[in-house]
């Protein structure tokens, strides 16, 4: 089985699992869900680390660095702001 196909299997299964857990999130928590999912999309940081680490030409390195900086902002900022929001949800 080719790597592409394996990736597709994993993608489909993750989407199915994701769809179910996400559709259980109540409207109350939709804004935190949106910003939390947004933080997770910073997973691109993994890719940025891989390509930058292996970079041998300056062009590749600089694209990679740009990727790392942007992805890290997304990850760190995203999780922190989600936490800031969720800290406010309190049961009376």
């Amino acid at each position: 089985m080719s790597e592409m196909l394996i990736g597709l299997y994993v993608f489909v299964l993750a989407t199915l699992a994701g769809r179910e857990v996400i559709s259980k999130v109540p409207p109350t928590l939709h804004t935190p869900l949106m910003s939390g999912a947004n933080a997770i999309s910073g997973i691109a940081i993994i890719g940025a680390l891989v390509v930058t680490g292996a970079a041998t030409t300056p062009a590749v390195r600089w694209l990679g660095v740009a990727g790392i900086v942007m992805a890290t902002i997304n990850v760190v900022g995203g999780f922190m702001v989600t936490d800031r929001m969720l800290r406010m949800f309190r049961k009376g």
Binding site: A14, L29, T31, P32, L63, G67, M70, F89
Partner: protein, 460 residues
């Protein structure tokens, strides 16, 4: 690190992502869910750093630190009300990162003299296109929400045809790229065109529709990350990307459904401008208006009150004063609850976050299905800066908001509406509720009116 151990650690990370999102389904566990997802991210990063040879540690470390400091600063400094903008810009960065990764990997492959197969070519071009559209589109959305770019739909003649041709051109070029012509020139041309496309797609959409756009772009940034996962053969990228892709799509669908509009209508309808609306002729139909003292009397002597907040509450930032009024009423023995419409405000769950900020307990917040049967027995509904979500026109099949589910506030004995004028809300249509006999209009900026109300309720 042994590669099997590394893969098991990444599998743990995938599990933590899924179960973290699952914990977001209840306010009590949501915070730990977010922590779990960030732990998942940390594991993925650490495994990646240990597993891969990093040729230039200082560069990488500097980049990570820069990003982390900037992200933390933004997350702390931002006003809670600026949340939609913040999500938009973070999201743009995520998409940008994916595009950069696809680009870097492409340059590396080309530099090492490898010829791309069709599969690799396709995923590289997909990662780049989706990432770049997400990047520029999110920046425009940010600009519109922040007021840097006009919130009005920017339209020009033959816009749709132009966009369609432009998009078609990109598609054709992409196929050519994937099937053979994978030169760096072609690549950068495509990436540039995708950036322009992101702008073209978002400018014709009104500022008020931006939350839907941001949510859709969020889904794209997930798909872009998944595409880079295919490029690099990296499972955790694919899994996390798929989760984000699903989440964005589901939220987009929920928003569209709650507004009773199709995604196509949002994207191409040039609807929801922020600008001046056709004002309703004031004085044309009589309304009954009250001042703070009268409103306070009605509220203070009620048995049960349901507060319906809307976008105006967020604009006026009157949530803290609202909370004070509610506390005072409760001290007097009035039963106070909140009825939260799913698209009140400008983001899904906007009102929940706003009220949480003011320390309102989340078990006082009831959603549409829960609160609607309760209006029959309610003495007073206090509407604060809401309009469309309580507009009975939604029941009229000819209205532009026909079929949108609304809060049936007109079933309560009395209705008090706090807003500045008789102007329409987001949908730009008049609201018959204001002219009902049981409705009292309490005009003024919600913040100032609420301050007055606190004083008067105290004295009532």
């Amino acid at each position: 690190m042994n590669s099997t151990v590394a893969h098991l650690a990444l599998l743990l990370s995938a599990f933590l992502f899924v179960s973290g999102i699952k914990q977001l389904s209840s306010p009590g566990t949501a915070r730990s869910g977010n922590a779990r997802a960030s732990l998942a991210m940390l594991i993925a990063v650490l495994v990646t750093v240990f597993q891969n040879e990093i040729l230039s540690w200082p560069t990488v470390a500097a980049a990570v630190v820069t990003g982390a400091v900037a992200g933390a600063f933004l997350a702390r400094a931002i006003q809670m009300t600026a949340m939609p903008q913040l999500v938009a810009i973070f999201n743009g960065f995520g998409g940008g990162a994916s595009a950069a990764v696809a680009g870097a990997e492409f340059l590396r492959l080309v530099g090492s003299g490898t010829t791309l197969g069709a599969g690799m070519g396709t995923t590289i071009v997909l990662g780049t296109l989706i990432g770049a559209v997400t990047f520029s589109g999110s920046l425009i959305a940010f600009g519109k929400l922040q007021g840097v770019v006009t919130g009005n739909p920017v339209t020009f003649p033959l816009q749709k045809s132009f966009n369609a041709i432009f998009f078609g051109g990109i598609l054709v070029a992409s196929v050519a790229f994937a099937l053979g012509d994978a030169s760096p020139e072609m690549y950068f041309l495509l990436a540039g065109a995708a950036l322009v496309l992101g702008i073209l797609l978002v400018i014709p959409i009104g500022g008020a529709d931006m939350p839907v756009v941001v949510s859709l772009l969020n889904s794209y940034s997930g798909l872009a990350a998944a595409a880079t996962g295919f490029v690099l053969g990296n499972m955790i990228l694919i899994i996390a990307g798929a989760l984000v892709g699903a989440s964005g799509l589901i939220l987009t669908r929920i928003m569209c459904k709650a507004m009773n509009r199709s995604l196509g209508n949002v994207a191409f309808g040039a609807f929801g401008s922020d600008g001046p609306k056709a004002r309703v002729q004031a004085g044309e139909r009589p309304v009954r208006d009250v001042d703070a003292e009268q409103a306070a009397m009605v509220l203070a002597y009620a048995g049960s009150v349901v507060v319906v907040p809307g976008y105006g509450l967020a604009v006026a930032q009157a949530q803290h004063e609202l909370k004070k009024v509610c506390d005072l009423l409760q001290e007097r023995g009035v039963k106070v609850r909140f009825g939260i419409h799913p698209v009140a405000g400008r983001m899904p769950g906007h009102m929940n976050v706003l009220l949480a900020e003011a320390d309102v307990s989340y078990d006082q917040l009831l959603d549409l299905e829960e609160i609607n049967p309760e209006f029959d027995g309610t003495d007073v509904v206090l509407i604060v800066g809401a309009n469309d979500v309580v507009n009975p026109a939604a029941r009229d099949p000819d209205s532009v908001i026909a079929g949108m589910p609304i809060l049936d506030v007109d079933r309560a004995r009395n209705v008090i509406v706090m807003k500045r004028s008789l102007s329409p809300g987001f949908a730009g249509i008049d609201n018959d509720l204001f002219y009902l006999e049981r409705t009292l209009m309490f005009f003024g900026d919600a913040k100032q009116s609420m301050v007055d109300l606190v004083r008067e309720v105290r004295e009532a």
